[in-house]
Symmetry: C2
Subunit: 406 residues, 2 copies
């Protein structure tokens, strides 16, 4: 018995039959004596459909109005879910973002949650009602509807869980949990029982698209345990929690890969102070995020500068770089879309040495050339040629002792 | 130059192309130097579609949640309209019912407007923005979304017009205005330039489905001039306004008909005190509205009691009446669905006599038998056999001098 927040994604509520299935799952938790708060996404496909309508009106639809439009998606599912629960004989009530007092800043389409009042949620729970909250949406201080960006319902769920001090926040999704590597690539990948917030943050930003990064940041900040689990069966998934001593014993928790980056190199750049800034400022000025940056050691008065960007931004970044290259008289600009970033992640790295050298030597043993390297306290990433992605993931998975043993 | 409220129905905003057409019409009014507030319905068909979804979940979907669901319809159109106006280079902003401070009571699905703050509307007008408000919806004191019932967008429009003291409230619809009779039946029907609120109220409740009755009540109470006009061309429609001396010179403003009622007669009812109440209480207890009631003069100890109800309620009213007939030992219950109510309406009746006798004699001259009669200060209604509907309307239209002369 406790307070449980459950979040269901768009596929789980994709039609009325699925909504009924989810309703049965909700009432099961309720019947066990728990207070239950449910966060829902829009039915799968609906958000894209709405965006499509808006784009028929304008290539750059007004963001405030787009949020008003998109918010109808979750409004529809929460109303249908509450009706379904009531039809099943339960007390239930829907709340939209502003009704659940989800206060955000005023950045339409990518608002950040500032505060959650949650008084109304608590009142409804006292009345023993199942509370069904529209995910992905909130309202700014003036009462304008805002949305939280793709995957924002995860963040809604964790934020509500934090506000009502829930015992657990269950994220129901179409995967079983968090794996040590992508099971589609590495058939020896294991489901993790537990993973630390920081590890999850690194994994999420590296391409394991299970949870929105901000939801994990929120969970870490307010110490909300997240249970990532399948909406198709009842097996336990993966708990995302504060790190503890046991976790630190494991050097590497998982191996991730990301094929969604591209690399740009400016060759023979005059090595003068401020040259990196000259090259990268126009890139970030265009709203493009740069991931890894490497400047080679100087040879003569010249140096090479290499950086990676998301493949979506590759063409614009390349165009900008060519322009810059002319201005600073660099010799040439080389672009490469056929790369992949392979990373090993683990809080245990903080207290273990030799992880990097083991990673490099394992890849070398398979003749996989490392193009770029970057590290954080709990992560080491290598850029390799894209064709080596699967081999690299399996090699490292085995090297760091993650392979499933039957 | 003034403050203009424009309301467009579901057909006018039925797709993106039509929304663009309406947007052009709005900006034309704005470009003439007016402050413009627009009230929109859901795209035609959308509300029915949403109700259909809800009814797949439950035969009696929870009304609070149904309102949350239905409100998405208008939310979608106002967002798309605001985007369209902004894309055309105008300043515009959408407001949902609660954002426009449309406060209602808490009767879900048929809420009544209690108050409109409209501060935000006024602020936006000061910023020279076109304000696009979701019709049909409001919020109760607790912030729950409510809807105003079918045709509620008309009432939203008039209420907003009253709150901001608009110079005019234009209701754009698929008819040209208010006619002296249904042009489909009576080809000599004329469009009225002006009609009094009270006349419009009688006409609306008698089956001229152009305006929601409550919107006219609101307009009368706050003295808001309504301009009912076509959304397909620019010709002037009909002004619904306070009555004046000129109007009183016209005895009959229009002839209306209503085929949507049915008649139930309890024959040979023991004529004891309270017998009408015994018969009608169970009917109204079942939520069925009774329109006309006639009790025949007594013959012996027995009397006949006849009343009419909407055809939708006919079967249940008949079943209830049969049950009552048994209990009070009435001889029999006779039902008749093949009736029509023909009415003449006009504020001039207050000061002119002889209208009733002229009506009865005109009908008699065509051998049309009158089954029931009821009157108000500005209306006389006769129930006749349904097959005489068209003939009766044309006869009265001519008799009261309403026929169009080329």
């Amino acid at each position: 018995m406790g307070v449980i927040v459950q979040k269901y994604g768009g596929t789980s509520v994709g039609n009325l039959e699925r909504i009924r299935n989810v309703a049965r799952q909700i009432t099961k938790t309720y019947d066990q004596g728990n207070d239950v708060v449910v966060i829902l996404s829009a039915m799968s496909g609906v958000t894209d459909q709405l965006i499509n309508s808006a784009e028929q009106i304008s290539q750059t639809p007004d963001k405030r109005e787009l949020d008003v439009l998109l918010a109808t998606g979750e409004q529809t599912t929460v109303a249908l879910m509450a009706m379904t629960l009531i039809e099943m004989g339960y007390k239930a009530q829907s709340l939209l973002g502003y009704q659940a007092e989800i206060l955000t800043n005023n950045k339409a389409s990518k608002a950040r949650i500032l505060d959650i009042g949650a008084n109304r949620v608590k009142d409804l729970l006292k009345e023993k009602k199942i509370v069904v909250i529209a995910g992905f949406q909130g309202a700014d201080a003036e009462g304008n509807i805002t949305t939280l960006g793709r995957g924002g319902s995860d963040t809604s769920a964790v934020a509500v869980a934090a506000a009502i001090k829930a015992d657990q926040c269950e994220i129901y999704t179409d995967v079983d949990g968090i794996y040590t590597a992508d099971p589609n690539i590495c058939d020896k990948a294991k489901k993790l029982d537990r993973i630390a917030y920081d590890e999850m943050l690194e994994m999420a930003s590296l391409g394991a698209k299970v949870l929105q990064i901000r939801s994990v940041e929120f969970a870490k900040k307010y110490n909300v345990p997240i249970h990532v689990r399948s909406s198709f069966h009842e097996e336990e998934g993966t708990m995302v929690v504060n790190e503890d001593a046991n976790m630190e014993k494991v050097v590497v928790a998982g191996v991730t890969h990301n094929k969604n980056e591209a690399r740009i190199t400016l060759r023979k750049v005059p090595d003068t102070p401020g040259i990196a800034s000259k090259i990268l400022s126009p890139i970030s000025g265009a709203g493009i995020q740069v991931d890894m940056i490497i400047q080679n050691t100087r040879s003569g008065n010249m140096t090479d500068l290499t950086f990676t960007v998301s493949k979506n931004d590759y063409q614009s970044a390349l165009d900008i770089s060519k322009q810059t290259a002319k201005e600073i008289e660099a010799e040439e600009v080389i672009g490469d879309e056929n790369i992949a970033k392979i990373s090993v992640v683990g809080v245990g790295m903080r207290s273990h040495s030799g992880v990097a050298s083991k990673m490099f030597s394992s890849l070398a043993a398979e003749n996989i050339n490392i193009l770029m390297i970057s590290t954080s306290e709990i992560r080491i990433s290598c850029v390799v040629e894209e064709k080596y992605t699967e081999l690299a993931v399996r090699t490292l998975h085995n090297a760091f002792g993650l392979d499933r043993t039957e």
